[in-house]
Every structure is written in structure tokens, then in C-alpha cells.
């Protein structure tokens, strides 16, 4: 059947053991040369590589047949992250300070925000999952508070503060409609990280007025950021 030395029947032949890794492209250059040198003169070894390729292709097909997880997995994850973020310092990491070492200790706070933070931190990850439904309700409350904020009050709900809070509403604005399923917590964190905030809304059609930059020089970059986040903003219109 073959004209070359038989390859290993037991795991004593290291090259035989390496064939699957060769097929997966995971050998060092030296090991690859060794395998290829043997493949060049050992017909049985080549046949065994074919067997490996067959196994590999069917394993790939088997795994590819598993559908993607539902959006619920992502929503659950980010709801838990939002809950943890809400328990973090108001001056949470921004794009300017991202290089700083990770430190997610809860801030010392007082009032309802502190109570919520303590409650959130007391949850185990599993228990946190069960709290997500409650947090969804909290998001609705936040929406109301944000609407209140937009109407003129500078009080910040839940311990959040905006990256900057000028006294007047000067600057560049845009109109945006949030993507379905996006919570105020989602949007609020993203806007804060990008130096933007909600100043009015909701308007007819579910549009919110955002302050996106302090002057015209920053407008294009801000619009690109908004339009580059379709997972958060379904519609973005310049004002």
C-alpha cells in the first residue's frame, strides 16, 4: 500500500503527533520544516495528513453548525457591566485616562446612589443576573430622570456626572434616536466617555438632542463617532 516507512502506531513518533498541529498551522517554522521534509518522501505520512485534514474539516463543520447565541446573552452581559459601572466612581475612566491601571473599587458616596452601589456589589455574578430585570426598571426611571435633566435641572441621577457641565447650552448639537434595546445607562456611559450629553428630548419620532462638541471644529469628529456606533444610535442627524 505504501512505499515509505510506516508512520507511528503509537505516540512514540513525535512527527506523527504533530500532524494535527501542522494541519492547523500551529507549528514553529522548524517543526514545519521537519514535517514537510517527511511528507516529501513518505507516502503513508501524506495519507495520514489527509486523514487529519478530514477530521479537521468535519470538526469545523460540526462547530460551525452551532448557531450564535441570542442577543439576550449580550444584553445580560452589558446589563451586569452597567450595574457595576453604576457602582463605580463618578469620575470613571475616560478616553484620556484609559492607560491608568484598572481600579474598579466603588467610590465612597452617600445617599440613594451609595445604597444602590452597595447592593450591586453585594451580588454574586449569578445573583447579578437575577437583578437584571430590576435594573431594566431602573433604566426606565433613569430615562425619566434624564428627561428631567434635559428640561433644565443640572442634578445628576444615580451618581452619574457628565464629563463636563457648562452652565450654558452653547456648542454643537445633533439629533439622535437610540437603537432598539439600548438603555439610558448604555447611552449615558458612551456619551459621557465621548464628552457628549443629552440636552433635550425626547422629541417627536423618539429623537434626543445631544450636545456633541464645544465648537464647530469638533463637529465632524463627533458626528463620525455617533454614526460609527450603530449599536447605540439608530439615527444621527446634524442640527
Amino acid at each position: 500500500m505504501t512505499s515509505a516507512p510506516a508512520a507511528a502506531q503509537s505516540p512514540d513518533d513525535d512527527l506523527e503527533l504533530l500532524l494535527p498541529f501542522y494541519a492547523a498551522g500551529k507549528l514553529s517554522s522548524g517543526q514545519t520544516r521537519q514535517v514537510e521534509a517527511r511528507l516529501a518522501h513518505d507516502a503513508e505520512f501524506r495519507r495520514r495528513l489527509d486523514l487529519v485534514e478530514e477530521e479537521r474539516s468535519q470538526t469545523v463543520l460540526l462547530n460551525d453548525g452551532i448557531a450564535a447565541p441570542s442577543p439576550a446573552a449580550r444584553e445580560r452581559l452589558f446589563a451586569m457591566i452597567d450595574a457595576e459601572t453604576a457602582a463605580r466612581p463618578a469620575s470613571r475612566v475616560t478616553s484620556e485616562s484609559r492607560a491608568a491601571p484598572a481600579s474598579r473599587a466603588a467610590p465612597v458616596r452617600s445617599g440613594p446612589g451609595a445604597w444602590l452601589a452597595g447592593l450591586v456589589e453585594a451580588f454574586t455574578p449569578r445573583a447579578m443576573g437575577y437583578a437584571v430585570a430590576g435594573l431594566a426598571a431602573l433604566a426606565v426611571v433613569q430615562a425619566g430622570l434624564l428627561a428631567h435633566l434635559a428640561s433644565g435641572s443640572r442634578q445628576q441621577p444615580g451618581g452619574y456626572v457628565t464629563a463636563s457641565a457648562p452652565a450654558q447650552e452653547s456648542g454643537v448639537h445633533a439629533l439622535a434616536r437610540f437603537a432598539p434595546g439600548v438603555t439610558m445607562a448604555d447611552a449615558g456611559v458612551w456619551l459621557q466617555d465621548n464628552g457628549m450629553r443629552i440636552v433635550d428630548g425626547p422629541k417627536p419620532g423618539g429623537l434626543w438632542r445631544l450636545r456633541i462638541a464645544s465648537d464647530a471644529a469638533g463637529k465632524d469628529a463627533a458626528m463620525r463617532k455617533l454614526q460609527g456606533s450603530p449599536e447605540l444610535f439608530a439615527t444621527v442627524l446634524p442640527e
Binding site: 468535519q58 448557531a67 474598579r104
Partner: protein
């Protein structure tokens, strides 16, 4: 996957960057989910676990030292989560839809052999492998992990990775032979 790019994304996550977290999730969630499904054999459980895996990443990104790829790290976390779940689980039923795609003890090689497609028989036999053999096959063939990476994920010596994979392949060949598919090896 671009290892350097993943490293940068994880560094940003360590700094609390939620958008970076979304990027990492989009890049890797499908791979992690499939690995989990193959381990726990239940899609609903795997969905919960995939959230837990990435939540751990969010919390512990600062501990990622970049000695392995993000994929290797994620699969290691996923495996730990899956094993913890399997230890807790006693009689949790298989997801009905997914169970149909799995070969199990009731689907013996003779049944599989009734299928006319040799490739389908191969996939059925892959499903009959033990969890230990199945995971090493998946890690190398599907997740394209190297010897050292698999060793890291499974917590075993590199040589054991190679021999375990060899024995997994031998067992697969045995199941194929039982199903009437003689490959002339081993």
C-alpha cells in the same frame, strides 16, 4: 485574530472602556459560545456562561499579561466556567434542539452507519468522543490552538496534549471502524 489588537482592546477594558468590551465581545463571543456548547451540551446554559465569561474579562482584564493570546485566555476562562457548571449540574436536561445534533450513547455506530454520508458518520463519531477527547480535538482543529496554548487551557503538560490528541484520534478511528468506516489507521 490579531493578537496585538486584542491586547490593546483588553488594556482598554482594564481601564474601564465599555466600547472596548463590546469590541472584544463581538470578536470572540461566537467562538467562546461554541466551545461552551460543546462542553456543556446545552445552548441555554452556554448562553448564561458566555455572559459570565465576558463579565470575568471585564472584571479581571487588568490581570491579562499578554503571555497568551486573548483567544487562549478566553477559552481557559470558558473551560473553567463550564467545568464548574458541570460539577453543579446533576440531571439538567439537554436542550432538545441541540440534542438532535449530538450523537449520544443511544446513537450507536450502527445507527450512524445507516447514514449514507461518510462525513456525517465522522461528525456523529466526533460527538461520541469523551469530553476530554472532544475538547482537545475542538481546541486544535476548530479553535486552532497550538500545543503550548492547549496545555495552558487544559492545565496539562505539552507532551500530554500531544498524546491526548493522538489517543482521541485513535478513539475516533475506532468509532469509525465500528460504524463500518475503515480508514486504515491506526
Amino acid at each position: 485574530m490579531d493578537t496585538h489588537a486584542d491586547g490593546e482592546v483588553i488594556r482598554r477594558i482594564a481601564g474601564g472602556d465599555r466600547a472596548a468590551m463590546m469590541t472584544l465581545y463581538q470578536r470572540h463571543h461566537l467562538r467562546v459560545f461554541r466551545f461552551l456548547v460543546r462542553m456543556v451540551r446545552n445552548e441555554a446554559t452556554a448562553e448564561e456562561l458566555v455572559s459570565d465569561v465576558f463579565l470575568d474579562v471585564w472584571r479581571q482584564a487588568g490581570a491579562f499579561e499578554g503571555r497568551s493570546s486573548a483567544t487562549t485566555w478566553l477559552l481557559g476562562v470558558a473551560r473553567f466556567k463550564a467545568l464548574s457548571q458541570l460539577r453543579r449540574r446533576t440531571t439538567a436536561p439537554l436542550d432538545d434542539g441541540f440534542a438532535e445534533t449530538l450523537e449520544d450513547d443511544a446513537d450507536d455506530p450502527e445507527v450512524a452507519a445507516q447514514k449514507t454520508d461518510k462525513a456525517a458518520i465522522m461528525r456523529a463519531c466526533l460527538g461520541r468522543l469523551s469530553p476530554e477527547h472532544r475538547e482537545v480535538i475542538d481546541l486544535v482543529y476548530y479553535h486552532e490552538q497550538g500545543v503550548d496554548e492547549v496545555a495552558l487551557i487544559l492545565g496539562i503538560p505539552a507532551n500530554t496534549v500531544k498524546t491526548r490528541l493522538f489517543h482521541a484520534r485513535k478513539r475516533l478511528a475506532g468509532l469509525l471502524a465500528e460504524a463500518g468506516v475503515d480508514r486504515g489507521w491506526p
